[in-house]
């Protein structure tokens, strides 16, 4: 076992973790611990852009961005935090540009912007160009740029280390316990501040845009240390995943004029969101797609629809909508323009579907994409652990792992990159400030025991037992079936029963690999254990919420119920596997809840 000491340790090296590390390392000794090489993180797959009201192409204001985000959240987002994020957005984007991020440019050399779902001019109600982009690989550019800046600033990295446990001493976070993948050696990182930035957990579901690595490690570790998870019932299904594969097709395709088409050849979003149509919020579009498919209007009656971005289709509907360019001329696209703005999307379709989106429509279906819920924090990234927002000293969370909450019941496109920039930065600053004025506490002798016990319970290569992949497959099937876009009490009860059965079976695994060098089977098993815990918390939180709001759509409670449910869920996972639920109020400042239409 090896010991290390830093003021701040950051767990995870995606956008939030790197941003936190970059800012924390300005004043505090900082280490980043990541199970992947940093450039492998899932931030790199974000495509369409980061939202900020720069107003480079038309009038826009942070207040509009704030309102759009509140409305997009179906009024469950905390309005003080949302206003903070949308106001900071402008500075955050300029800061990235100064760090070297190669944004696409307008003809006059400024950062290019494109429309995105739910982002509007609040006066006209029409889509506004707010998403700052670098072709369709904005996340890749953000991840690369932040990693480059961390190298420039000599941040210390522990790559391919899996963090297994959070060290708590006298009610204060004091570091983490990790295993080195290459050797299985255990490492204790003693630190006065810990920032959890481990990303999402979309791997709970069968069809997902999420990387294999997105197994909710940070939330699972926190739950095991008695920290609650907030609003876990709200998980976004992105409307346009590649059929069967779940690989994301950016909303930017619809921003550039692409439309969704059903089996009858209709642009069905006209009926569900008459004003912004295909650029309605993601929850609205995903539900509309499910309803179309349920009515037999999928392509050939099957469970997929078309996303059509062929120039002739784009131009036809742009003319019908009266869409114009910033200079007032009619909006028309050419194949070359689409190729330059959406090169990766076109490449994905050619690779995985063997089709060319310039000439053929893309088969798509909703795909599990983003966790609005997570570890509860305030807007400084400090983890808060009860209904009164009591701060847990020394523990911070940022990015998809955290729930501030700025996304409420449904996140707007481009706000995830914004979230990780703004709250990653502030968590880093706050953690460094706190750590530098805190004293290290003495660590107990058995500091690594809980982590070791967890691994030992999985490390069985003899006797009878089940393969972990079987358990993972069954979990993904049941979650897709019963805790997906539409939900009912009956289905979620079935899911709960199944998840409890799977958790029981999980205690009796058999591995093929009991070695020490890159034992990825053991670590995958540990990750599946995390997903099972998160699936359980998600389902219990969803079953209790008897209303429909944002991404949580109940067929047995189809309406939003502000009287009883305008509140955040806090869920604790007890040692016996039961989920304890409590609730805390939503922060409402300027925008009283209204009916939400697009």
């Amino acid at each position: 076992m090896r010991f290390h000491q830093y003021d701040v340790v950051v767990v995870g090296a995606g956008g939030a973790g790197l941003m936190a590390a970059l800012y924390a390392s300005k004043t505090a000794t900082t280490a980043v611990i990541s199970k992947l090489y940093p450039t492998r993180s899932h931030t790199g797959t974000a495509q369409g852009g980061v939202g900020a009201a720069l107003g480079n192409l038309e009038e826009d204001r942070p207040e509009w961005h704030t309102f759009d985000t509140v409305k997009g959240s179906d009024y469950l987002g905390d309005q003080d935090a949302i206003e903070f994020m949308c106001t900071e957005a402008v500075r955050a984007v300029y800061e990235l540009e100064h760090m070297g991020l190669p944004f696409s440019r307008t003809p006059d050399g400024r950062i290019a912007q494109r429309p995105f779902g739910g982002h509007t001019n609040n006066i006209t109600g029409k889509p506004v160009r707010r998403s700052c982009y670098a072709a369709d690989r904005t996340g890749h550019m953000i991840l690369q740029t932040l990693y480059q800046q961390c190298l420039k600033n000599n941040v210390t990295f522990f790559d391919e280390f899996q963090v297994l446990d959070l060290i708590m001493v006298n009610g204060v976070a004091q570091g983490v316990v990790a295993i080195e993948l290459a050797t299985s050696e255990m490492h204790v990182f003693h630190a006065n501040a810990v920032i959890l930035a481990t990303g999402g957990h979309g791997r709970i579901w069968k069809i997902t845009s999420n990387a294999y690595a997105l197994t909710g490690d940070g939330i699972a570790i926190a739950l095991r240390r008695g920290i609650p998870a907030e609003d876990m019932e709200f998980f976004q299904f992105h409307p346009t995943g590649i059929y069967k594969l779940g690989i994301l097709i950016t909303e930017g395709v619809r921003g550039e004029g692409g439309v969704l088409i059903n089996g009858k050849g209709e642009r069905f979003m006209e009926h569900y969101a008459p004003r912004v149509k295909d650029l309605a919020s993601r929850d609205v579009v995903s539900r509309a797609m499910y309803l179309e498919m349920r009515e037999g209007r999928g392509i050939d009656g099957k469970d997929y629809l078309y996303l059509d971005v062929r120039p002739e289709t784009v131009n036809k509907f742009a003319a019908l909508d009266g869409r114009t360019r910033p200079d007032g001329s009619p909006y028309r696209v050419t194949a070359e323009e689409l190729l330059s703005k959406l090169p990766d999307i076109i490449d994905f379709c050619r690779t995985y579907l063997g089709i060319d989106p310039i000439q053929q429509p893309m088969p798509v279906q909703p795909t599990a994409h983003y966790a609005m819920g997570g570890i509860p924090t305030n807007r400084f990234g400090e983890v808060v652990i009860d209904e009164k927002n009591k701060v847990l000293p020394g523990l911070y969370a940022a990015g998809e792992t955290a729930c501030v909450s700025v996304h409420g019941a449904n996140r707007l496109g481009t706000n995830s990159l914004l979230d990780l920039l703004v709250f990653g930065k502030h968590a880093g600053l706050r953690a460094a400030e706190y750590a530098c004025q805190s004293q290290f506490q003495t660590l107990p002798k058995d500091v690594a025991d809980f982590a070791l016990e967890q691994l030992d319970s999985l490390r069985r290569c003899k006797g009878e037992g089940e393969r972990v992949s079987t358990i993972a497959e069954e979990m993904k099937e049941v979650m897709m079936e019963h805790v997906g876009v539409f939900r009912t009490a009956e289905g979620m009860q079935q899911a709960l029963t199944k998840l409890r059965e799977l958790k029981e079976r999980f205690r009796n695994l058999k591995l093929d690999d009991c070695g020490k060098v890159f034992n990825t089977e053991l670590l995958n098993a540990w990750e599946i254990g995390n997903l099972l815990d998160l699936a359980l918390v998600t389902t219990a939180s969803a079953l209790a919420r008897k209303e429909s709001r944002g991404a949580h759509a109940r067929e047995d409670y189809p309406k939003r119920d502000d009287k009883n449910w305008l509140k955040h869920t806090l869920a604790w996972l007890r040692e016996d596997g039961e989920v304890k639920l409590r609730y805390k109020p939503v922060v409402i400042t300027k925008y009283p809840p209204k009916e939400r239409t697009y």
Binding site: T39, T45, R105, S469, D513
Partner: protein, 234 residues
């Protein structure tokens, strides 16, 4: 259909040297080679070790040799690699650790050696630095790099001397050398003009063929060579 997957296996805890093992897997023609590896690991031999994450060609984790060619396992479909046995081996030129996992540290050290970050000490404006679409286009191709190492580990010059920085590092230097906002081109060109820099490139084009992002790597290296030779970025 059933596919045979022949994998070069090596477990440093039990094996003296690598050996091949063949698995039979049910597969669709549209399955990714990564899907086959996942099926083998999940249902036949859990000890098979390989890296993967995003599974759609962006994170750069799963570069390996497939039928002798460097490719991403997640971007290679069964139908694209023929009907016979699919042979899967680890990248060449980096130390082998276990099965398909090689030590990436030397690769990232070369990357870091070219100062892969924007250097510009002038105080930034309140808003963005301006850059015309043409200036932005100048280095667009090399911004696509995902650091998967497919190029560097396909390069015979790198195989013969691993102190050569390799194509990936040069690609990332190019990305900054030709960025109108950067001020350290001269320093990077100096680094790349040393004996383990660009002149180790003998325009064999393996790197360009191996790149899963279709970056024109040999062209980028040529542009860096030209900049060193002429002292000009034009």
């Amino acid at each position: 259909m059933e596919v045979k997957v022949k994998i070069l296996r090596f477990n440093p805890e039990t094996d003296k040297r690598p050996h091949y093992q063949t698995f039979r897997v049910e597969a669709e023609p549209t399955d990714r080679v990564l899907d086959l590896l996942e099926k083998i690991k999940g249902y036949q031999d859990g000890s098979l070790a390989f890296r993967r994450s995003c599974a759609h060609g962006i994170c750069g984790s799963d570069a390996m040799r497939i039928n002798g060619v460097n490719r991403l396992a997640c971007k290679t479909l069964v139908k694209d690699v023929g009907k016979g046995t699919i042979t899967v081996e680890p990248l060449l030129g980096l130390p082998l650790i276990k099965d398909l996992i090689v030590d990436m540290d030397p690769f990232f050290e070369h990357y870091e050696s070219v100062l892969p970050y924007l250097i510009n000490d002038e105080p930034p404006p309140l808003k963005e630095r301006l850059q015309s679409p043409e200036e932005r286009e100048r280095f667009d191709d090399t911004t696509k790099c995902i650091l998967c190492a497919a190029c560097t580990t396909s390069c015979p010059s790198f195989w013969s001397n691993d102190r050569y920085v390799g194509p990936a590092a040069i690609v990332n230097a190019h990305r900054f050398i030709f960025d109108s906002r950067d001020r350290a081109a001269a320093e990077r060109l100096r680094i790349l003009s040393d004996q383990f820099g660009v002149y180790r490139c003998h325009t064999i084009f393996n790197c360009t063929l191996a790149c899963p992002r279709e970056i024109q790597i040999t062209k980028a290296i040529g542009e860096v060579k030209k900049a060193i030779a002429t002292g000009s970025l034009e």
